[in-house]
């Protein structure tokens, strides 16, 4: 059984005990522990259940590659599923729960899947559950979903905060092991701006565990000295707990920093997402040890050999009292030495190689450990904990030679360089047959913005697995024990019969076995991507860090081809999973998106506006009084505006100044109608189309001076139209002399609308706004009631109406003054819905309602606004295409329901018959439909086939379900057809 050793543990502080729980059971660990080391130290070997067969599982690794030991961490709003115990630092009060079982870890109903394992090979679900049709949705899929998934579902919103930061450097060194330290030192000394980041809390990587000498010093001393020098360099930034998640194009690296994970509830960010732009990335990301594939290699207590010694050296945790080591290489012998030094028992080392002559095996043998050469493990005994191993000849079929009792198995199948960052942007790999691994091909690196290599791999990440090779690559001398060649072992024993292969796990979490990969190959899933997808190999939360190389070796063997011919699956970011919270950063709640506020926004808020999002603005939809529905509020606002006077915050309207000798010519190209002829002081309504001919925006244009115009755009369109203007000026007509300025935010704009509007403005005084002084469709400027105002006499409601623009800083004051001064006139604000209804009553089109990106001005009866004189304007050519001139295009009309009801939004008018695809023919649709409190019934506008020629005809529109609503085709102007009210 695993236990805490009485001495040692280079990373723990025995003076600081930390309390935590596992499945409710109180446990203790030390500061410096990971959850995994603390759990092992507390004797907890079994930690969870596997994905498919719900087999008992324990800790395999000591780092990011851990596939099994995932737990639910925390509770309520701070619950997090699938937390990897091997990389989670222990903290006081941590609550952990094992996953994927019911009712509990020891007794799991799902374990029945394991009993039926023969019926559940890779991809069995593709061959079954097909009938009856409804059974998949209602029966099979729910069962599968319930049994799959790993961790529990969080139930509450995350209370923690996250942040992001950008960093720039010449060289980013990823990995704080000795290779990374050496690289940072070299680059730092060369004066480069260097970032060195390490995913764990500690520097030095594996070397402090494995030992050796660097540059004449003990490795640990060299690490210390080097760190000191680096810390003294102003051009070097050092950072632990920062994991490089992905290498993206042009040197962009995403990193995740753990800031507050061990201090839940503290007022600090939990995670910080770094976006590091590096001139060059040096990956010193090390290597990951491979498991060996033998039967029942997934029983809790079977671990990577390197992990076993990590636990002993780093955390003084013994994974077992009696550890059998299974290996195909010399490195694993280091585990034996560590265990022996800790006073633990190593009953035997099972080495698949026929002979072992290396220095490490010699040393181990000399200490009296049995080394069984040419042997393998036939199977592991035990279910929830290793009880022993059956030994067989590696070359054979698994006939047991002897059984050795043990409670831990340390396995090593060799090492694979961590090539993720190298590969994310297309760096290629070469097969290193000697060490049986893929390593970065320096001839084919990922390329950066300038087409040169942007990533360089060093140390074990480059395939230099020994300390000597790693430091040699950095130009430093180093010595460590010599290692004899390893022998690749992809299946143990080599000729394992199918029954053993059915229990030899490759991907622990997803329960993919050697037999599954072989089945995939047999069925023609020959591409490694096919095999991955068919078997789910490498698709677990460790993303194949342990399983991929073993899996593709088995696949290659099954296909009878060399491993490089099979290739690898694509490496995709992130290297280890990163929280969605970190990706979100600060952008949640109030900062989710910018909320654009008009200068009058605070007044709307104080007066309980019901909001409507319009782009990034939020405009009042209506201002309900207490007890009023929104509908009632809208009707009141309309009635009051038409009877008295209403105020609309129109500040969001786009306001773009266009000036220059060629401004008139330019606007004539932009608008369908003529703007160059507009007299100074006057306003004209204009339409803009895109080059495809479709209506894009509209608004009133005012001529400010001989060479300058003010173009109003829709609220949503201001930035787009300004960009559109600049695009044409910069990229097409760059010799035209025109300047533009987007002054949308410089002005607050208030529409004062209704029969008493003039009286209200007169009360403010300062500007004569009489019919004579300021006729319809003109503008004037001056001091209105002490405000710097420009007043446009324009109307979108059909009423007497003034739009007053004042500098934004004065907007709120003007609004408040209008409200105060107009009290006895019945002044009331109105919102966007009242605006919409009133304009519909007048038959005015609204961009986004009558238009949808497929409507041309001709469809809307706006031919009066299309200049016949101009030889060209944007969209003109497009409007000449056959489909645009088709007489059968639907045209705008008004619609009056016979029963006074309101046609639903989006309703279509069916026509006789069906089209070639059996769909009902149609002859029109509504574009705007409202209850008009002015007229007292439903009114609508719509596009109807030959509509203008069918005045008075009654056609049907779709209602709820099968219901049909009869409506008469009318003129779209429902209110004050002659325009008398707006022109008083």
């Amino acid at each position: 059984m695993s236990t805490r050793l009485s001495k040692g543990g280079r990373l723990i502080d025995r003076a600081k005990r930390l309390n935590f729980t596992f499945n409710g059971k109180p446990m203790q660990g030390f500061a410096g522990d990971t959850l995994a080391s603390a759990l092992l130290g507390a004797g907890q070997v079994m930690l969870g259940r596997s994905f498919k067969y719900h087999r008992p599982r324990g800790i395999v690794a000591s780092g990011v590659e851990e596939p099994n030991a995932l737990v639910g961490l925390g509770r309520n709003a701070r619950f997090e599923p699938d937390q990897r115990t091997t990389t989670t630092e222990l903290f006081e009060g941590a609550e952990t729960r094992s996953q994927n079982h019911w009712p509990n870890l020891d007794y799991d109903i799902g374990e029945i899947n394991d009993a039926f394992y023969k019926f559940l090979p890779a991809g069995f679900y593709y061959k079954t559950f097909m009938a009856p049709q409804a059974a998949w949705k209602h029966l099979f899929e729910p069962i599968i979903r319930k049994s799959a998934g790993l961790g529990g579902v969080p139930k509450e919103a995350d209370p923690d905060r996250y942040e992001q930061a950008y960093a720039y450097c010449d060289v980013l060194v990823v990995g704080g092991g000795v290779a990374g330290l050496a690289a940072a030192l070299r680059e730092g000394r060369a004066g480069k701006r260097v970032w060195l980041i390490e995913q764990t809390a500690h520097w030095g990587g594996r070397t402090p565990v494995d030992g050796g000498q660097i540059d004449g010093f003990e490795a640990c001393d060299w690490i210390k000295t080097t760190l000191q020098e680096l810390e003294g360099m102003a051009n070097v930034t050092l950072r632990t707990r920062l994991m490089a998640a992905g290498q993206h194009d042009h040197g962009y690296v995403i990193g995740l920093e753990s800031v507050g994970d061990t201090r839940p509830g503290a007022d600090i960010p939990r995670h910080r997402l770094w976006r590091i732009r590096a001139g060059r990335t040096i990956t010193a990301t090390g290597a990951i040890e491979r498991p060996l594939a033998f039967a029942a290699n997934d029983v809790p207590g079977v671990m990577l050999a390197s992990a076993v010694r990590d636990y002993v050296v780093n955390w003084a945790v013994s994974p077992g009292d009696r550890t059998v080591i299974v290996t195909n290489n010399d490195d694993a012998y280091r585990t034996a030495l560590v265990l022996l030094d800790a006073g633990l028992t190593v009953p035997a080392i099972i080495d698949a190689r026929e002979a072992t002559h290396g220095a490490l095996p010699q040393e181990v043998k000399a200490r009296g450990v049995r080394v069984l050469e040419g042997r393998g493990v036939a199977r592991v005994l035990g279910r929830k904990q290793v009880k022993g191993v059956e030994i067989c000849a590696q070359a054979g079929e698994g006939g047991a030679i002897e059984t050795i009792e043990c409670d831990c198995v340390a396995m090593s199948g060799g090492w694979s360089p961590v090539v993720h960052l190298w590969s994310h942007c297309g760096g290629k790999l070469i097969w290193d047959a000697g060490q049986a691994m893929f390593r970065p091909d320096p001839e084919r690196p990922p390329l950066g913005a300038d087409g040169t290599a942007m990533v360089q791999a060093v140390g074990a990440a480059n395939g230099d697995l020994t300390l000597a090779a790693t430091m040699g690559g950095a130009g430093l001398g180093a010595c460590s024990s010599d290692e004899a060649p390893m022998t690749p072992v992809w299946q143990m024993p080599a000729s394992a019969p199918v029954a053993l292969r059915f229990k030899s796990f490759l991907d622990f979490q997803n329960d993919v076995k050697v037999s599954d990969v072989q089945l995939a190959a047999r069925e023609g899933f020959e591409s490694v991507e096919h095999t991955k997808r068919y078997t789910t190999l490498g698709m677990a939360t460790d993303q194949g860090k342990l399983s991929n190389i073993n899996g593709l070796a088995v696949l290659s063997d099954a296909l009878g081809q060399p491993i490089p011919a099979t290739g690898t699956t694509t490496f995709r970011p992130p290297y280890t999973p990163i929280s969605f919270g970190a990706i979100t950063g600060e952008a949640k709640g109030a900062l989710f998106q910018p909320l654009r506020r008009t200068p009058i926004q605070s007044w709307h808020e104080a007066h309980h506006a019901h909001w409507e999002p319009v782009g990034q603005w939020r405009r009042p939809y209506c201002y309900p009084k207490s007890g009023e529905t929104h509908r009632e509020a809208v009707n009141r606002e309309i009635t009051n505006t038409r009877a008295n006077v209403g105020l609309l915050d129109a500040s969001t309207l786009g306001k773009i100044v266009v000036k220059g000798p060629d401004a008139g010519r330019f606007l004539d190209m932009l608008y369908t109608n003529m703007m160059s002829t507009l007299p100074v002081g006057k306003c004209r309504y204009g339409l803009m189309c895109n080059e495809n001919g479709f209506l894009m925006d509209d608004g009133v244009v005012a001529r400010l001076s001989d060479d300058s115009w003010l173009c109003h755009t829709t609220s949503g369109g201001a930035d787009h139209i300004h960009g559109w203007m600049e695009d044409w000026l910069q990229c097409e007509w760059w010799d035209w002399k025109v300047y533009t300025a987007n002054l949308t935010e410089q002005f607050a704009q208030i529409a004062v609308v209704g029969p008493k509007a003039r009286e209200l403005l007169n009360r403010l005084g300062g500007i004569d706004v009489s019919r004579e002084a300021l006729p319809f469709m003109q503008w004037i400027e001056g001091r209105l009631g002490g405000f710097d105002a420009r007043i446009f006499r324009i109307s979108f409601s059909g009423e007497l109406s003034y739009e007053i623009a004042v500098p934004a800083s004065q907007g709120l004051a003007l609004w408040e003054k209008l409200v105060t001064e107009g009290k006895d006139l019945g002044v009331m604000p109105y919102g966007t819905e009242a605006l919409h209804v009133m304009r519909a009553e007048k038959g005015f089109i609204m961009i986004g309602d009558e238009t949808d990106g497929t409507v041309i001005p001709q469809d809307l009866g706006l031919t009066w606004a299309i200049s016949k004189k101009k030889t060209d304007f944007l969209g003109k050519r497009a409007q000449q295409r056959p489909h645009m001139t088709d007489p059968n295009r639907w045209k705008l009309v008004g619609l009056e329901t016979l029963d006074g009801s309101v046609i639903p939004d989006g309703s279509y008018a069916p026509a006789e018959g069906h089209n070639a695809n059996g769909q009902r023919n149609t002859q029109g649709r509504v574009t705007s439909t409202y209850y008009s409190p002015t007229i007292g019934k439903g009114i609508a506008m719509g596009l109807v086939l030959n509509g203008p020629d069918r005045m008075g005809e009654v056609i049907e529109f779709t209602g709820e379900g099968e219901a049909r609503i009869k409506a008469r085709i009318t003129d779209p102007v429902f209110y004050d057809k002659d325009g008398e009210k707006q022109n008083v």
């Binding site: 905060r161 942040e163 992001q164 930061a165 950008y166 960093a167 720039y168 004066g191 701006r193 102003a234 051009n235 930034t237 800031v259 503290a266 007022d267 600090i268 960010p269 910080r272 976006r275 732009r277 600060e586 952008a587 109030a590 900062l591 998106q593 910018p594 909320l595 654009r596 506020r597 008009t598 200068p599 603005w617 100044v657 000036k659 220059g660 000798p661 300058s708 002399k737 300047y739 533009t740 300025a741 002054l743 949308t744 935010e745 410089q746 002005f747 002490g786 405000f787 710097d788 500098p807 934004a808 800083s809 004065q810 709120l812 004051a813």
Partner: protein
Amino acid sequence: MSNAVSALQGATYQGFVTVTEAGLIGMISIRGDLTSKPLLKALKALGLSVPAPRQIVTSKDLTLAWMSPDELLLICDHSAAAQLVQTLSSALEKTHALVCNVSDARALFRLKGAKPDQVIMKLSPADIATLPTGEMRRTRLAQVAAAVWRSAPDEISLICFRSVATYVQGLLETSARPGSELFETAPSSS
């Protein structure tokens, strides 16, 4: 005008840097040929010359920033802006140019303290560490446009659009929360 107010009316927040909305400030956008004589003359009359690309220069009460190859931004007292627009417009009447008062279209923030760079690092993809004094960097601050420059030792100034001032204040406050410093000391750019 006495009833004029800035976007946030001088709101301030004390974090690991102090974030302050600077209140009403005058800003004038000048578009034109930056080499044209009338423009040079008009600026000279104000004691200014055209800054080099991206540079920002100050003369007495006026600060002038290069915004683009054909655009400058003149920063002044809010109360002086209207008159300056008049002056410049008149001076440039005979040339092709556009002078606009944009004072109320913007909001100005000051970040004061030892670590204002760290606040910007959290929000802008610009390499703030390499931004020299005397240069204005137009950039993105989270999801909105902004311009930043070093306006004094231990101070960064920042301009954004008025409508998003509340959003920007929120960004700056969140980023300046005590305990969330990125570094003990600012990292070097060398």
